[in-house]
Every structure is written in C-alpha cells, then in structure tokens.
Amino acid sequence: MSSGSRELLGIFTHLDALLQAIHRLRDAGYRDSGVFSPLPRHELEEALARGPSPVRLFTLVGAILGAATGFVLTIATSLHYPLITGGKPIVSIPPFLVIVFELTILFGALATILGMLLNIRLPRLKLQPDYDPRFSVDRFGLWVRCQGDQIDAAQRILHSCRAEEVSEVLLEEKKPRSKRADRFILGVLVILLGVIVVLAYLLPRLPVTSDMAHQPSIKPQEHPLPPAPNSVPVQGKERRMELLEASEQLQNPVQATPASFEHGKQLFQIYCVPCHGPNAKGKGPVAKKLSTPPDDLTKESAVEQTDGYVYTVIGQGGATMPPQAEGLSPRDRWDVVNFLRSLQREAGAR
C-alpha cells in the first residue's frame, strides 16, 4: 500500500465502546479523527475536546452590527428629513431604542445562522462517502485518517473496542462539494430573484381600482347623532359675551327658590363679602386696602341692572374686580345673583 493519507471508518452500536475507541486512538497518537452520531452527547464532546464553538463570536459581531444599524438608520434618516412629529425632538432616542433592539436581535440571529453554516461548511447536497444512513438512526461512526503504514494499528484499536464494522473509505471520492449542486442552488436563487423582480414590476400595474371616486359608496356619511346613552355629562365651555349683549339677552334660568338663596348666600360670603361687605354696601374688610373702593351694590344704579348684567360682571370681572368664573360655575353665579337681589330688596325696604 502507498504511504499516502488513508481513512478508516468504524461503526459502533454502543456509546461507551465508541468513547473507549476515541480515547485509545488519542492515546496511540491519532489526531485526525471525528465522529458521526444521531444525537449530540456531552460525553463525545468531552472525549474529542474540541473547545468552544466560534459561532458565539458571529452572534456578538452581528448583534453589535444590528445595534449600530438601528442607531444609524433611525438617527440619520430623521436628520435627513427633519420633520417634527408628536412634539418630540428630531433625534428621540427612547422610541429609536425599540428599533435598535429589534435589529440587534435580527442581525444577531442571522449572524448566528451564518456562523453555523460557515463553520460546518453547509449547505451542500452531496453527502461524504464515509456517511452511512444508519448514523441518523442508532449507529455511531468513528473515522480516523492516518498515514498508510499506521492503518493496521488503527484497525486493531477499532476492532479491540468492538466496532461493529471497520472499513476503509476511498478518499478520492471525498470531494468537498459538488459543482452541479452549487449550480443548482444558484439557479434556484436566480429564478426566485427573477420572479420577485417581475412581480414587483407587474403588480403595481394591475388594473385594480384604487381611486375612491370609482368605488361604489357602501355607507354614506351619517347625520349628526343625538347624545348617546351612557355618555358622561361634562360641563361645556361658555360662550364669551360682551357686557351689553349679555345684559340685554341673558335671562336668569334659575328660580329664586330657598335652596338657590341658601347656596347663593354661602357663596356670597366666600367670594363677595371680603370687598363688598356682608350687606353689599361696599364696606368689606379688604375694602380699606383698595385705592378704588368697591361699588355699593345696593345703590339705585346697581339695582336697575338686569340679572344678565350682574351675572356677566361676576364671571368676567369689572374695572378693578377680578373675574370669578374660575371658582363659580354658571349655576353658582345665578345663585349669587338671586341672593344679591334679595339683599338689594332688603336695603331698599329699609
């Protein structure tokens, strides 16, 4: 036999016999060997002592690349066309981080797959000549490559560990990849790409009616609806009226009932008495501090004003009087008007 490189393949039924064979070959100095197994076993990994797989480096690089792509994509495109949306800064990092995160994962995963394929030299369509279909069922294979003159010793070691079969593999047949298979994969990819390009060209040209004007009207717009049941009543905003307009047009909608009177009295004491005084004569405790004295509300010119006028002054304020609309709702203000009228009547009767 020639002294070139030759390969021997032993087929094993039992895992422990295989492990023994691996160790014995190692001890005898055979370094170039490997295993076929139907499943990954930690014992095999330990016996072969190959060290950690470099796939994780691919993952790391892919993930970093993904994060960088995320940042560049979001920030650069936002700066390229600076359009403020939602009142947020042009470079708004928190929402961009979501995109960064997703691209980190995506690129990391794709790089992991790429790293795996590169490291195990896949994909390929032709199997190695030393592969046996039983390896995917329940048999383990151990191949060892050595110089021609060492092959007998290796054969003895395999037999001594109760290999089921030991045979020599013809190395000439062991080609790394078939060119035809490569061409086949390439062909499939090119055809797929062609189909995508043609579809991308044709699809937008299909005569689908895309204009709403040409589509039948299924549901015309509805008329304004009455308030829906179960709706939450919320106070609307008042229309701002000019004083003159208000005094002519506004009618007092609140009856001067005892309840309205009581409520108005209470509010009057809180909001009006400090300046206008308890009898509305303009002599409240704060009045002394003011340069312009507060009006006497019982004087004739005040009594003659309409309810709408008084109501509007309370809400909008007067020359020096501050507006009270913030603290008093419309209903509150009408109650105050009702109470004030009773004060004026009292003062007039006296």
Partner: protein, 440 residues
Amino acid sequence: MIQLSYSQVNRDLLKTMEPPGKVYYVILALDLAVLAWGFYAWTYQLRTGLGVTGLNSPVGWGVYIATFVFWVGIAHSGTLISAILFLFRCRWRNPIYRTAEAMTVFAVMTAALYPIIHLGRPWRFYWLLPYQQRGHFWINFRSPLIMDVFAVATYFIVSAAFFFTGLVPDLAVVRDKAVGWRRKFYTFLAQGWEGTDREWRHYSSAYLLLAALATPLVISVHSIVSWDFALTIVPGWHSTIFAPYFVAGAIHSGLAMVLTILIPLRRIFRLETYITPAHLENLAKLLILTGLIMGYSYGTEFFISWYGGNIFEQATFRYRIVGDYALAFWIMAVANSVVPLLFTVKKIRMSVPWLFGLSLVINVGMWCERFVIIIASLAHDYIPFAWGLYKPSWVELSVLAGTFAWFFLWFLLFVKFLPVVSITEVKELVEPPLKGGVDP
C-alpha cells in the same frame, strides 16, 4: 427517561409522515374551500373598498386588528416552550416543542396577513418599510406602528430560522429513509447534514444562542404590539400596564392553543408514549400561572381606573362591564381568569377531554379579550356625539374564517411533510445504548 431504543424512536416518529388516509384529504379539501371563500371575500373587499366591512368612525380598528393581536399572542407560547424552557433546561419540552414552534411560525404568518388585509390599498404595504420615499422622506421611527413592523418581521424571521435550525437533523433522518422524489426533496432540505461531531458542536452552540436571542425578542414583540394602543390617549388603552398585560395574555392564549393542537395530534398519530399526560399537565399548570396573572391584570385595570379618579377612564370601564359589549367582557373575564383555576383540581388537569374543552374555552376568551380591548374602547372614545357601535360584516367574518383555514392549512401540510415530534431531541431523553463493562 423514555424506555425505548433509538431505532424504535425513529420508527414511531416517522410513522406520522406515512401517506395520509381519506379523512386527511377530506379535511384538507374543506380547509381549502374555507380558504378560497375567505380569499373571495378579500377580493370583494379589494374591489369595493373598506366600506364593505363594519369599520366606520369611530371604530376604525375592528376584527382584523383584534385577530392580528390574537394570532401574534398565540405565537408567543411556541417560543416560550421552544426557547425559554430550553434555556431553563426543562427537558420535558423536547417531545412537544416542534409542534409548538411550528405553531409559532404559522401563527405569525397568519397574524402578518391582517395588517395587510386591513389596508385600504394593500399593494402599498411596502410604504411601511424603511426606504427613501418620494421627496427624500423616510418612515417615522417614532410611531409604534413602524416599531410593530420591525418587531413582527424580526419575530417571523428569527422564529422561522430557529424552527428550521431545529429541523435539520430530523430532515437528515427523513432523507435517509426516503425514496424517489421525496429523497431529492429532503436531500435539499437537510442541506447535507451528517451528524458529525463538528456539525453538532457548532449546531448546539448556534441553537443555544438562537434560543437566547428569541427569549427577549418574544417579550418585546407583544410589548410593542401593546404600545400600538397604549401610546394613544383613548380611555381604556392609555395605560402603562399594557405591555406586561399583553405578554402574559399572549402566553396564556398560546398555551391554550398548544393544548388544543397537541391533544388531537397525539390521539390521531398515537403519540401517547411520547406526549404523555405529564406534558399536558405541565401545560395546564402553566395555564394556572398565566390565568392568575390575567386575573390580576384585569383587577389592576379596574383598580387604577377607580383610584386614578379619571371620570373618562371610569366611564370606559363601566361601559365594558354593562355596555354594548358586556357579553364579550364577561366571557373574557370568566374564561381567562376563572376557568384556568379549574386546573388546580388534579382530576381535571389529568383528564384529556377536560383539558381539550377548557383550552377551547380559553382560546375563545382570549379572542374576546382582544375584541373588548380594541372595539369597546374605540366605540366610546372621546366625544359622546361621535360614539358609535361596530358589528363585523360578513366580509370580515369570511376573511376571519379564511385566515383560520390558512393557519390550519400550514399545519395540515406540516404534519405530513415534517416530523411533528423532534426525533433527535427525543433521543436525547433516551438512555444511550451501552454494552456495559469496559474491555481491558
């Protein structure tokens, strides 16, 4: 440990791929008929416009978006079983993970249809992709809808890659047994896998890393889907609890769907040796956990609406309980948070018919949850003057049926073209053949 030999595992698990009987073809034909009807309804919608759906102001998101959220949620549990339980070294997942992972991929494929169907002009879906549009102008990365595109696309690519990676060693098994055109087909799919130590070393490393990447991904996906809602100011949506609440709900619905699929599967293919009552029991126990989280989330939503003192929020939640969609609300509340508690009774948890029945109930409950969250909030959004009710039209229901048929079509093909139980990973649970004793 399963007391079987490696070759027995191969024989049993390849049996599922034998040529199917008449019943299979009848089911396939029915499924295709429903799919065709759904497709017809969609083309009708395309020709006439979105007016044929029940969508109108104010309810602009209806059954389509609700079912999108539902299917994305279904997908999550597959990743939980295949990736998260893998990282936790829960070996019991090995026989069931293939089916769960297939469910993930098919569910995302189904979910991804909905946003496209929901578009008035679906041929312009590519406007969502990042490329420079007319006028130097790019998509708005601040919009949760764009984040959604990134999340769902990443999720589909990564889970499909993870699924296929796990399949390759099994495809080699199928290739070695196949003859004729099937041999060529599986030779192509198996990519030249031989099971060498070099292959296993890099493969195991890659598989672990993919699982580690899929785990945070799955949590991000439904969080981002929830932000489609939570980042608006619609009462009932604008809530910080939405992300964890949606993720928990997703896993809840997915676990129920895994049970719904696994139980007929093990019965039809006689896989009782591999998918044991213990597996189903473990899934039921997980359902108790997620059911409790659901109950807690519902409670928190109501508590915060009361405690927060926002009258609009309170009105929305009152409307959910007693309003127009109260029926869906009560189905959701009972089916998702009360029904899973039945699994605390061991007899129910161990009984296959109960598990199957209750898993269907939870599936319905989770669909109702998506419906209630989306539609009941939109129907009473801001101005009482503009409130309105939504009822799905026949077009929407037909499309809904069609997309369910689409999901099951992929599943029907899956059970006959791929091994439904991972042969390699089941072998990892089997005691390896040992001769015993060491030779001198």
